[in-house]
Each structure stands twice: as structure tokens, then as C-alpha cells.
Symmetry: C2
Amino acid sequence: MTVIYDKVALIGLGLIASSMALAMKRAGLARQITGYARTPDTRATARALDLCDVCDSAAEAVHDADLVVLCVPVGAMAAVMADIGPAMKPGATLSDVGSVKKAVIEAVSPFVPDDVHFVPAHPLAGTEHSGPRAGFAELYDNRWCIVVPPEGADRNAVNRLIDLWRGMGANVDEMDADHHDLVLAVTSHTPHLIAYTMVGVADDLSRVTDSEVIKYSAAGFRDFTRIAASDPTMWRDVFLSNKEATLEILGRFTEELFALQRAIRTEDGDHLHAYFTRTRAIRRGIVEAGQDTDAPDFGRSHKVR
Amino acid sequence: MTVIYDKVALIGLGLIASSMALAMKRAGLARQITGYARTPDTRATARALDLCDVCDSAAEAVHDADLVVLCVPVGAMAAVMADIGPAMKPGATLSDVGSVKKAVIEAVSPFVPDDVHFVPAHPLAGTEHSGPRAGFAELYDNRWCIVVPPEGADRNAVNRLIDLWRGMGANVDEMDADHHDLVLAVTSHTPHLIAYTMVGVADDLSRVTDSEVIKYSAAGFRDFTRIAASDPTMWRDVFLSNKEATLEILGRFTEELFALQRAIRTEDGDHLHAYFTRTRAIRRGIVEAGQDTDAPDFGRSHKVR
């Protein structure tokens, strides 16, 4: 038990917040965890699961908290912050878990009291499930959390937040907001948009039935549907708030896709083979970096919870 | 033990063939299994693994075999067939495991002796690994195998091949070659091309380093790299031989992607949210159809082999 904060308040009680509550409890990182969710249903579920001390208002949850973490969709953060700003304890730290950072900083900063330390962060972890029941204590184990301290941030506040994420099992890196948003546009946002698109195309095709698509989705498409099943509200907000970087990467993607399409049309097998050989090496890098398993029976023998 | 064929010959000894050998042995479906691979290295590996009776020529492997299965890349099948056709036993069945069916039938048929039954098939199973060491007996368990009997095919020969695939754990469906190629263009070929493209884009981007891409690939991109790590030769041949269906689906994909791109540019959140909600339902169908697991900790707790 290494207590890092006496009291942590989680605003929003979905997959990310509920996993944080369970991970903090696992390592004894907070003496008290409070939480608030907008819908009575979610609050009732969180109470039934005994996730944390569930409050009926955000202001009540953040009262006297040493750390407040915004775990609501990116598009809702400004309104939540306007609500809780006046209730926050002087000297407390404010953080968030949003998938974009520049837009969050711009939206939230005007409502952050002068005596509160704002240290944005983004844990790169998740599943296609949402809600408080989806959380589990191991979600952050060996995953990366990117901390994005604004210029002139209080170093003690930053380090304490980093200690919390490490205590929840994560590896931590720091970068600036612009770079974070570009890296995420490449590794997460654009892949999600592409997966959504491909799943939509399959659904539209009248000559192939949905049940055929579903039955024969063994490889390729199955992984796309997993990605495309993520929370719609979260992802709408991601694309609206990381618009420029996503559009840039999409532009490059379309360019390369057209080159491969032309290689198929002109039957340029050498071009295709060389391209596919190059991309294979990147996969090896990911397995070696420990961010995925090399087991060949993926998608079948997961641990049942 | 229900023996279905006295002697089965596997031409090509990669992931698919080696998994077939192990699955046939598991259920005792053949009294003898012979095999041949073009490279001495692969033959030596298959011998060391004791996968089957490895022969030093394809003609020797198919001699007296009741079933011969072509397990080489689609682009190599015609040449292999020209080689083994004269050595095949009258009345034997010829099959294959190619990911496209129309092009294989066109390429292979001219070399099939009149007294041999040609019953093309395609097991929808695989991993991103290749070679004889990648095989495992469970690869086909609860996966689909699509059998594509030509018009006027011998029904007994077709049913016997279906029994073999069921014995190896697969579910079996029949369809014609054109429809097979369209269904696979949607569920597998186009998703693979898109994944290859996205991984290539990430690799090209000089402002984001490869190590950043690899470190932060927690969700989304990680699944793409898994797809994009598949065998380059196999996939080159797939795109060259299922050119028309792939180009058709790619055209639709690009159209939809442009619509989503425009929604991002014009900040049409309702369009994005509605689209993402629709694709989520397809995922539920796949989980309910038993083609994937619903476990939320994918990519982490696979059974270690």
C-alpha cells in the first residue's frame, strides 16, 4: 500500500474510470475514491458493483478531492469543468483521460481555477465495451499512459500523477499536445475510422447478406468489427476534436491506397509483394515491444472472465 | 477413428497444410499422409516435426493418394498441377485451399485428368504466421470451410471431402465460385489491403517515429499490424487473382470513406454518431455467431502454446 492521493474523484463512470477505480484499489493508491455519472442508471450500477463512493452530483464528488479525473467524452468535458471548477479544493490536481489533448486543453483550461494544477493525460488502453461493468483492474497493466503537462506545469503535481499511473500498472511517457494528437491520429484514430468504414461497406452490400459477412469473418474483417464496435459518442468526439491530424493522415492513407489499387489493376505483383513484406516487419516490432502476443490462436482462447 | 481417405497427399507444407496434417491425425481421418514442399528447408522442418511422410517430389507424394490437396500460393497452383496431374490415381479427388476460387478453377482445371474429381475448397482460418512450424491441430475448430463444387461434380467425392473438413473441426458451406470470391473480397481481401495500407502510412510518416508507432499501438493499429503481417506471397496472389471483386469493394470503400471524411471536415457529428452506432451492431452479430470471443481483455491473455 503506497497511498498517492488521499481522495480521488472520478467524473464519469465508464470503462476507463471503473478500471481506474479497480486498479487504484488493487494497489491501495487512494484512501478514498468518489465518483459521479450523469445518468442515474450508471450511478446505480456503479453502486451495485461497489466501485467507489458514488455521489449524486459532480460538485459533491470533487469536494475536498486531491485529484479529480475527467472521464467523460471529450465533447462533454468543458461543461463538466464549468460545473465542478468552483467546488475544487485549492492545490488539487485536475486530470483527464481524453483521447485527444489539444482540443481538451483548449476547452477545459478556461474553467480551471488558478490554484488548481491541470495535468492532462491519456491512457492508451480500452476494449470495445463501455459502461461501469466493462472495467477491470488489469486494463492498464503494461499499457502506455501519455502525460501532457502544459508549459510551466507544477513538477510535483506532474510527478504525483505519473506515480499514480505507474501504480495502476501503466508505463508513462510525456509529450506535448500537438505531437500526442498526431501520434494518436496514426495509431488509433484513423485506423478506427477505416474499420468503421469497412464494416459499413459490408453492411451495405446487398449481394452479400449480413449473415454471410458474420459467418465468414474469420480473419481480417473480424478484427475490424472489434475496432468498429467501440463507443460511438466517444469516437464522434475524437474525430471532431482531432480533425486536422485525422484529415492529414486520411489524405496520406487515400494516396497509398490508390497506389496499391493501381498495382492490383495493372497486375504489378512486385509492387504488392514489396509493400506487404515491408509492413510485416512493423508487426514484428510490436510483438517484440511487448504490446501484443505472438500466440497464433488469437481470437479464440482468451481467458474467460 | 473414422478413416475417410486411405492416403492423403498435401502439396505445400505451410501453415494450412501442417494444420491439416495435425487435425487429420487428431481425429484419425487418414491412414497415411504424405507431403511435399518446394524448398529443401521446409521439407527438412516438416520431417523434423514428423508432420507426415515427406517426399522429395510432388509426383512421389501424390502416387496412389485418394485425396490430393494443393496448399501452395494461388499463383503456383497451375504449375504444380501440370507436374502432378499425370501421377494421380484414377478416381482420386483433387482439392485446394486457395483464398480465391474462380481464378484457381480456371488455372488448375486444364491440367486435371478426366478421371480425377476436382472439388475446390477454402478453409477460412489462418494466423499471421507461416511455414510448417506455425500449424496447430485446432486451427479449423469451429471455423468455416467453403466448398465450391463445379457443375456436375461427383456428389460422393464432394460429400467425402466435406466429411474430412468436418472431421478436422470445421463447419462446411457450399457456394459457387463467383459468390465465394465476392464474399471473401468483403470479409477478408479488402480488409487486408486496407490494413497493409495503414501500416505502410504509419511507417512512412517522418514526424512520428516507428518506435512511437510501435509503443503506442495499444488499440486499433495493433489489430491492423496483425492482419498486415500475413504472408506477402499469398496475399499478392490473392489480389492478382481476385482483382475484379477486390476493386469493386475498394471502390465502395473509398466512396464511404470520403463521406465520413467530409463529415469530419464539416463537423457533422450526427452523421458520425449514426454511422458508428450502426457498425457496432454488426460486431454483436459476430460475437453471437460464435466467430469471436466477447472477452474484454483481448490481445493480452492468450493461451501460451
